[in-house]
């Protein structure tokens, strides 16, 4: 992936669409797929990811001249861990119920390859403001896909959206939608649809090895 495009608009387009972390790279879905059966959980989780990605890109960019090249992976991990701990503690304090639902998955934001990937590919060689923007839009590209999955799963699995019943009572909930397989199917379908549209627009769709 090239990071030659430096204009904020181009960065946004790239991160939300043409190199969307999920469509084109299928990165970092581990920590979040599990929470996609309810919209509210997904919302909190992905907001956490956006926050961590944006802030760690900003911090890495600010500190880039101070970090010796040899230990930069460790330093980046520490920076990311720092923000993840903040998210974890804030959730525990203000949203204990959701924190319990998300379980260990909040801690796993650390190993989300998107965050490390943006820090390494973009923040390392760009200014703080652009890096913050890049991190935020990457996080949002990820958020968009996961919210779509959660929307379908909660609507068909429980007949509700954000916990409010929206489908009439005679609707029979699809139990499979709350079970793990549906997450795999949906993300596979989304990648497929996304790539089909991109293919029509003449963008390259084959993944790099």
């Amino acid at each position: 992936m090239s990071d030659a495009a430096k204009a904020p608009g181009a960065i946004m387009r790239q991160n939300l669409w043409t190199s969307n972390p999920i469509f084109m790279q299928v990165l970092g879905i581990c920590s979040a797929l599990a929470v996609t059966n309810l919209l509210s959980n997904t919302m909190i989780m992905t907001v956490g990811v956006v926050f961590v990605t944006a802030m760690s890109s900003l911090t890495v960019s600010l500190l880039k001249s101070l970090i010796p090249r040899k230990v930069r992976m460790v330093v980046q991990t520490l920076i990311i861990a720092f923000y993840v701990i903040i998210v974890d503690i804030v959730l525990r304090a203000y949203l204990p119920e959701i924190s319990r639902n998300l379980g260990p998955y909040v801690g796993l934001i650390i190993t989300n390859c998107i965050i490390m990937g943006r820090a390494e590919a973009f923040a390392q060689s760009n200014g703080p403001v652009l890096s913050f923007w890049d991190g935020m839009t990457s996080g949002m590209g990820y958020m968009g896909v996961l919210l779509t999955i959660a929307l379908v799963r909660e609507l068909l699995g429980f007949g509700s959206l954000f916990g409010f019943q929206v489908l009439p009572a005679f609707f029979e909930p699809w139990i499979i939608m709350v079970m793990p397989p549906s997450a795999f199917f949906l993300i596979g379908l989304i990648v497929w649809i996304g790539k089909t549209i991109m293919h029509r627009q003449g963008e390259p769709v084959l993944e790099g090895e």
Partner: protein, 193 residues
């Protein structure tokens, strides 16, 4: 003994790490292209996971808890895993070059494998004893290996199939994973802890 046996069964089949709990999807998609790499990765994961759980459990129980530092859990664990991977790599290169050749390239990838961090965090969360934690980590790693190796077998066959360009790569792999996941749903509810 019964608890240990049920931990083994539950985490290999019922709560399979990849197919039911979504841990370690990245390596699951990344290295399942060939059987050879899948087996190599599996071995490396079993090795590192067990070692990491042992070290983090001891560290958590005897250092973090007595000093009231449990909020540092996540950062300590990730650092332990990263340095452990580095250590294993160095030791392996010295004492067993053949094993290193087999596992070497997979070791750095393990640091970003969320399944390893997940095992260490879950062992603490479930309040397992030391022995239970170790059995748990081995079972979880075998579950991961099982999913990875089955997937590699399927993907080697898929190579022969004619798949539309837009569906190639991750899309078809994810849909296959969905079908596998349905198969593993058959174990659901068989045993609980």
């Amino acid at each position: 003994m019964e608890t240990l046996l049920s931990i083994i069964f539950i985490y290999i089949f019922v709560e399979n790490f990849v197919l039911q709990r979504f841990f370690g999807i990245c390596p699951f998609l990344g290295v399942s292209r060939k059987m050879e790499t899948a087996v190599g990765m599996s071995m490396a994961v079993i090795f590192v996971m067990t070692l990491a759980t042992l070290v983090t459990w001891l560290l958590y129980t005897y250092v973090l808890v007595p000093f009231g530092l449990t909020y540092l859990q996540i950062v300590t664990f990730i650092l332990v895993i990263a340095s452990l991977v580095q250590l294993v790599e160095t030791v392996l290169r010295k004492i067993s070059p053949t094993l290193y050749q087999g596992l070497g390239i997979f070791l750095p990838l393990i640091t970003t494998n969320c399944a390893v961090l997940a095992v260490t965090l879950l062992a603490i969360r479930q309040e397992f004893s030391l022995v239970e934690s170790i059995v748990f980590s081995i079972a979880a790693a075998i579950g991961f290996a099982l999913a990875l190796i089955i997937m590699a077998g399927i993907r080697e066959r898929l190579e022969m199939a004619e798949i539309p360009e837009v569906l190639q790569g991750s899309a078809v792999t994810l849909i296959t994973a969905g079908i596998l996941s349905i198969a593993f749903m058959g174990f659901q509810g068989m045993l609980t802890l």
